[in-house]
């Protein structure tokens, strides 16, 4: 009952400040960005500059191949400015590529250099065999350069036929990918809701330290843990409300909201207790800022791995935001795994409880710190 009463008091106090409303506004702004600024799927069109240093017949074979690959491809003549010159080009737009066919090697070189994309010159060598000259930027990995250099050793038709005959055995066939818009939700929820809870919690406690509220607890019958927990509840409530504001209009009712609430609450609890622990070592936000700042950046790193699934070193996986992101992703995935979010929630609950226990001891010992 005392806890509930403290929570109510905290809630009333919080509703009088701007923080609550800023959080809500922030969630609404993110929702608007997701709905109106982020497309369902980003365009993955790549740009290439080609020059066929070949007899007309050879050039036509290549051009026909490109156009046959995509019956909806469109072709038009364009002028491109680069390096103070204008180059004429035939632009072929397919579903996946924008190919500019230019009429000199100089054009390929200048355009690849200024536009920072791949340029290719196709010509005949001394044995009348096709020879490819690739213009690359220089930062491409050795493995990618290796692949590019042998890509045309075999005839494209033969390669395509053999690739199509390759057998792929998926371990699961009920996977439905998220749209790009949906895919941006987990980082927004994790970083904006749960992670910011750490920062806000620390600010919250510093405010009370400044006003002497924590000291006052030493002479009241209420215990410190109830005080800390009531603060955490306020953050959790804000985090849940802002999370639902973002998710519900986009995902609708096709996800397990029980699981989502569980993960929002446990990750929020973990982040808040982490904020509390930091706050227990300092007496104002300016002093704690360095630690919060540093932690914030470390916790952001799994965001890179989230968007580049091929890059996931082991050390990234032990940063708490990694399971946070993957847990939220699993929840919004159609046919997503239920066990992973449950295990993640259990992990965050356990870690949060340990941190809370340590924080409680620290606050008890150092009521005025």
């Amino acid at each position: 009952m005392k806890l509930l009463s403290s929570f109510k008091k905290e809630l009333i106090l919080a509703s009088r400040g701007f923080y609550f409303y800023i959080e809500l506004l922030f969630a609404l702004v993110i929702l608007a960005v997701l709905l109106f600024a982020i497309p369902q799927n980003f365009s993955n069109t790549s740009t290439e500059y080609l020059y066929f240093n070949l007899p007309q017949g050879g050039k036509e074979i290549f051009m026909n191949n490109i156009l046959e690959d995509d019956p909806d491809a469109k072709s038009e003549m364009v002028g491109i400015e680069a390096g103070g010159k204008t180059f004429n080009a035939e632009l072929i737009v397919t579903d996946e590529r924008e190919i500019y066919i230019v009429d000199s090697e100089e054009a390929v070189r200048t355009l690849a250099d200024s536009e920072k994309v791949i340029g290719v010159v196709i010509e005949l060598d001394d044995d009348n065999q096709l020879y490819y000259k690739y213009y690359l930027q220089g930062y491409e990995s050795t493995r990618l350069k290796n692949l590019i250099s042998i890509l045309n050793n075999e005839s494209t038709d033969v390669l395509i036929e053999r690739i199509e005959n390759q057998e792929v055995r998926p371990l699961s066939t009920d996977y439905e990918p998220l749209t790009d818009r949906e895919n941006t939700i987990p980082p927004l929820i994790a970083f904006s809701g749960s992670l910011m809870g750490m920062f806000i919690m620390a600010s919250y406690v510093f405010l009370d330290k400044k006003e002497g509220v924590i000291k006052a607890y030493a002479v009241t019958p209420s215990s410190i843990w109830r005080y800390l927990m009531s603060k955490i509840f306020v953050i959790l409530l804000t985090s849940v409300v802002s999370g639902l504001v973002i998710i519900m209009p986009i995902i609708g009712f096709r996800i397990n909201y029980g699981l989502l609430l569980l993960l929002l609450l446990t990750t929020g609890f973990f982040a808040s207790t982490l904020g509390l622990l930091i706050a227990s070592f300092y007496d104002n936000l300016t002093k704690a800022f360095g630690v919060v700042y540093f932690l914030f950046f470390i916790l952001m790193v799994p965001g890179i791995a989230y968007f580049i699934p091929g890059w996931e070193p082991v050390w990234v996986k032990i940063i708490p935001t990694y399971p946070m992101l993957q847990g939220f992703k699993e929840i919004i995935l159609p046919n997503g795994d239920i066990v992973y979010p449950l295990l993640t929630s259990a992990g965050f609950l356990a870690a949060g409880t340990v941190l809370f226990f340590i924080t409680n001891i620290r606050f008890k010992k150092t009521l005025s710190v």
């Binding site: 070189r109 000259k133 220089g138 890059w311």
Partner: protein, 333 residues
């Protein structure tokens, strides 16, 4: 007046150094810059990850290693476990007449096509030595991701320097020192400006250090200095808005979050939005700062372009200041 601003600035530096905050704010971007240096090569080397059975076909494993990341496992069960893990790993396993690709089922089409292509190239005995091609490079060694991370860090520095300014102002507001200034020869504006110099200094120092640490010392430092200057003006404005409009650290922390939105939006707008849609980001000084930084870091910016972008940043900052002037004056009272 300048002398008084200087005295306030040096006093602030002393106080902030005592609390290590300024030091933290100056050192942490440098640590992050080192982190970017360590991180970017491995991210840039990202390729398809293949899982194979150890000693089953060492020649195949060595072949694949030239084009992809190869991990070897003792048996098929271990390969399957690895394929089932959360990152994108594809197995290449033997069957009666060749090899098949084992996927988890959630990999992107690109990853699967890459793995199939490599397997076809191996089965077709296409060797690197037989390449009928030549690669000509422009000598750029900095991968785009590193440039993007450094650019983002520069913007974050300005944002956090703004927060430092806000915290300094807020502290004085809470202690009622701003009112006490009324009875001293120092004007309130001079006092607040003096309080802001620490943040501006931090922004300037950290930005230059980050550029140098991350290896961009061959960029046009004159252009970089100009953009950094405009960013510090931006920090000042952020600090003023946050510090004078917040009554406590909670509100300031909340408003930092709000300020991150236009910054993140501007970066996303510049990097991902194509064509005419970019016009929707022209109102944001972060967009112009990011764009100017991108050109400087790519060594493709010309002086007229830089002057134009910096001019736009300063005009936007000036307009926001003019718009908020009544609130800022009120906040100083």
């Amino acid at each position: 007046m300048l002398k008084r601003i200087w005295i306030i600035f040096t006093r602030d530096i002393r106080i902030n150094t005592r609390e290590f905050m300024t030091l933290y704010m100056m050192i942490i971007p440098l640590i992050l810059a080192v982190g970017i240096n360590l991180l970017s090569p491995s991210v840039n080397d990202t390729s398809v990850n293949l899982a194979l059975i150890k000693n089953e076909n060492p020649e195949q494993a060595a072949y694949f290693d030239d084009f992809a990341h190869v991990e070897l496992f003792s048996d098929e069960e271990r390969v399957e476990d690895r394929v089932r893990s959360r990152d994108d790993v594809v197995g290449v396993l033997s069957k009666d007449n060749g090899y098949y690709i084992m996927t988890e089922g959630n990999e992107s089409e690109l990853v699967i096509e890459y793995a199939k292509l490599l397997n076809v190239l191996y089965e077709s005995d296409v060797q690197l030595e037989d390449a009928r091609s030549e690669i000509i490079e422009f000598g750029r060694t900095v991968p785009p991701l590193k440039k993007m991370l450094v650019n983002m860090l520069l913007l974050v520095i300005s944002m956090l320097a703004g927060m430092l300014i806000a915290m300094n102002i807020l502290e004085e507001k809470v202690d009622n020192t701003v009112s006490a200034i009324n009875v001293t020869p120092t004007s309130r504006r001079a006092f607040i400006l003096g309080k802001s110099l620490t943040g501006m200094f931090v922004a300037l120092f950290s930005s230059i250090a980050v550029i140098l640490i991350t290896g961009f010392y061959t960029v046009n430092l004159g252009q970089a200095a100009l953009v950094i200057f405009s960013l510090t003006i931006l920090s000042l404005l952020i600090g003023f808005i946050q510090g004078l409009n917040s009554d406590d650290a909670m509100e300031a922390a909340g408003s930092v979050k709000l300020m991150f939105l236009p910054m993140a939006g501007s970066i996303a707008g510049y990097e991902f939005v194509t064509g005419n849609w970019k016009i929707f980001f022209y109102w944001s000084p972060f967009y112009w700062a990011y764009r100017a930084n991108d050109m400087i870091l790519s060594k493709s910016g010309t002086w007229p372009q830089m002057i134009l972008y910096i001019g736009i940043i300063l005009v936007i900052c000036g307009a926001v200041y003019a718009l908020l002037a009544p609130r800022i004056v009120k906040g100083l009272q």
